[in-house]
Subunit: 200 residues, 3 copies
């Protein structure tokens, strides 16, 4: 608990940066970039909570998430040039972020009493739907459909977490393992340009 809350805020901060940076190539003004950062950071968790009927939404009930997002937007405005060059660092941050949010989403869904199958989907949604909404708003083909092993890595990690949880593995170890698997799948897939087969 002690570590988890600051990690959640850091994850939100990183997601806001990745969202605000995402519009850099296009014709968006500063406000558009900030708005996109905001949507990216809150989108996944908000959709999860709306689908589960869990109110208040995290960022509505705890103002620190909003401050983390503002901080991310301001950092992007000030340092977007060096940040844009740190592609590998940003990729790693994003990858750790989706791993972390997947498992938090799974845990939140479980705490609301839904079945494990639903919890797995909610975990994946928490991690990836912010990016999907961002891409839809900016008229991009959603990341989900482009970077092959993205949401599928999250879903895999969620299933691993739920399996180890069922086997009563210690939670901290379980989180490390399942987040590690998400990161590993994604890093390996990107490094070796692996992708899932198509439907053709």
């Amino acid at each position: 608990m002690d570590i988890q809350y600051p990690l959640e805020l850091i994850g939100t901060f990183v997601f806001a940066i990745s969202g605000a940076l995402a519009v850099q190539d296009r014709e968006h003004d500063l406000f558009g970039a900030g708005f996109t950062g905001f949507i990216t950071a809150i989108g996944g968790g908000s959709l999860r909570d709306i689908l589960l009927g869990s109110y208040p939404l995290v960022w509505v009930g705890d103002i620190w998430f909003l401050y983390a997002i503002f901080a991310g937007i301001i950092v992007t405005f000030m340092f977007h040039k060096p940040l844009a060059k740190l592609r590998k660092t940003m990729f790693l941050f994003d990858t750790v972020g989706i791993g972390f949010f997947t498992i938090l989403g799974v845990e939140k869904a479980l705490s609301l009493g839904v079945r494990v199958e639903i919890a797995a989907i909610m975990g994946m949604f928490s991690a990836v739907m912010g990016g999907v909404i961002r891409d839809t708003l900016t008229n991009e083909i959603p990341i989900l459909f482009r970077k092959e092993v993205y949401a599928s890595a999250c879903l895999t990690g969620a299933i691993v977490y739920l399996t180890l949880n069922y086997l009563t593995v210690d939670r901290d170890i379980n989180m490390l393992v399942s987040i590690g698997i998400i990161i590993a799948i994604r890093v390996i897939a990107v490094k070796f340009k692996l992708s899932l087969p198509r439907l053709d």
Copy 2:
């Protein structure tokens, strides 16, 4: 009731197939196709229930809907080539599906105590918004705006159902008549390439 529940599951199954098949021409991997099938199958009913504040969402509360979706996705993965050739059959399935889901959506909205005008809109949303969300995510012009007589057929069927319901027509007969009207409008419109006038 006895017939309705399996019919709902079959409808969900068919919607998942039509969603997963929809991405066949584009650059989606298997996961993207499955994700699209999932969104198509749950989108309309979820939006209806979120707008009405009705929790839990159907597929969150009853796991069989998720299994019906998984079955639809797996069937698409295994048989997508023959399925893609069965355009007429798929069209008919989709048409029966939207007719059926329109009336179920109307009934659900009525059961939650909203006015008939709202119930008509909710019925239409149940049937078509899954496809609209699917098309938005895949950067298509939503089906709503392309295939002319689509959502308007659903709205017409919803109004017929509400009218006959007001006249205390037997529910089974009412469902048959109003779903039949949706199917008839859509089949006739497609066969004779009828479309509504434009705003010009």
Copy 3:
């Protein structure tokens, strides 16, 4: 209160017109235009209420909003040619509309007990998200990202309202001032083609 309710209905009516007119250049039929008008009119307020968990949604609970939307759609169908020529009048209507809905959104959020930062965001969402959803559905780059000073004018007005409210300024005066500021920013920005800087 006496004035506010008819003003809300008029605002909804105007938003429905602007939404239905928006599809005029494209290949939409009458139903598509009406549907787009409907989404534009309800989108922002519905999103605000869903994010806040406030049920029933305004247009679900009060049928007069639906009638205002229908009236707007019918007026668009009958008079779309002269209306399309009244670009300046429509711009002014839209600008007054977003100013008014921003402040109403702020007030509604405050009445539900959220913090001022959240209320400011909810006010902006109420005003602009209908247009954003409209643009996303019709595959346009959302207005938010095109017309520079749009959502940022709403956010500014919301912050002014909350500041004056904190200083216990009389509500009627506060509304006039903060809506006036939104209108002024937008009119000046469009007249002098001012825009916010970009991230480059």
